[in-house]
């Protein structure tokens, strides 16, 4: 492996909407690891701002709620402006593990890939944490993404990704909602970015389950993906 990157140049982007009760706990290990942390507060109506006060993080705040995809794009634009070399997408609800970040960065640092996707379905020990019905929905998502974009990954809608500066500058998310995950794949294809997958652990706490997307939302996402293909 090449030399590990300067962690200050690794920007971890965390879109947050009403995550006031858990956000400090999620940020602490990332700050401790020395990464540059960007919290994109998507106009939370709770005490998120108070919870963030005094933390050594960049706080970018949307004036109105736009959605997760929009928050990620804001975070990426900000990070690029601040001179980021690598960008990590990270969920605010505590389901990702900060220890997995170096493994995601590795293919970027070695110059083997421009974007690395985290996957819950590479190691059997990660997969067993995914509830059965969710597993089915994600399997279907994998197939739909494959059909629509020609890119076959083992996981769909895993919010844990790593991008190098070039990939983050090329990609521009227009899907403000959750359909951005498929949109990223479509753009990876369009810009011929090199991609890789790495295993990540996922923690389904009661909190993240309550905040996470319900299964029905899968239909909403599918609808969004289809309609945007027809109408631009």
């Amino acid at each position: 492996m090449s030399q590990a990157p300067d962690r200050k140049k690794v920007f971890v982007i965390i879109p947050a909407y009403n995550e006031g009760q858990v956000i400090r706990g999620v940020l602490a290990p990332l700050i401790e690891s020395g990464y540059s942390v960007v919290v994109v507060d998507d106009a939370s109506a709770d005490d998120s701002q108070t919870a963030l006060a005094g933390l050594p993080v960049h706080c970018v705040r949307h004036a109105i709620n736009l959605g997760q995809g929009a928050a990620l794009q804001t975070g990426m634009s900000f990070a690029i402006q601040q001179g980021a070399q690598y960008i990590i997408h990270f969920d605010a609800d505590g389901q990702h593990h900060p220890e997995d970040v170096p493994a995601l960065l590795e293919p970027l640092v070695n110059g083997e890939a421009d974007i690395v996707f985290g996957s819950r379905f590479i190691r059997p020990e990660d997969e067993k944490f995914v509830p059965g019905i969710k597993r089915l929905a994600l399997r279907a998502g994998v197939r739909i993404n494959w059909m629509m974009t020609g890119i076959k990954l083992t996981d769909a809608h895993n919010g844990f990704r790593a991008l190098n500066r070039q990939a983050a500058s090329r990609i521009y998310l227009r899907e403000n909602g959750y359909a951005h995950a498929s949109e990223i794949l479509a753009q990876v294809r369009r810009f011929k970015l090199r991609y890789a997958e790495r295993p990540t652990r996922i923690e389904y706490t009661e909190y993240s389950k309550s905040k996470g997307q319900s299964l029905w939302n899968a239909f909403n996402i599918l609808f969004d993906v289809l309609i945007r293909r027809l109408i631009r």
Binding site: H62, A63, I64, L66, A70, F78, R174
Partner: protein, 121 residues
Amino acid sequence: MNLIQITLVLTSAVIVVLYFARMRSQLLDRAVGVTLFITSLVTIIRPGLTTTIAHYFGVGRGSDLIFYLMISGLAFLCVVLYTKIRKLEETQTIIVREIAIREASGISRIEDRGSRIEDRR
């Protein structure tokens, strides 16, 4: 003329006047507006005409033909509005993003941090 014919002619006249007074639109839009207005006038004054056209298209009654056309027109309108709303959302996103980034990087302080647009309405 029947009372309904007078009512309909007046309604379309009012709509077309409002259309030209309020909307600043492209030439094509205006052409469509004028065509629609003339068509409605003709069909109101000569109600039998729609049935003749309907027969030509293999539809039994003139009112059925109008009904089908209205449904397609509505669907078309939905698509047009959807794309327009989508464009507006994109513009809005860009503005909100720009403000957020400027504020976070300390370029300029546009509004008090912590207060949301909804709160200030």
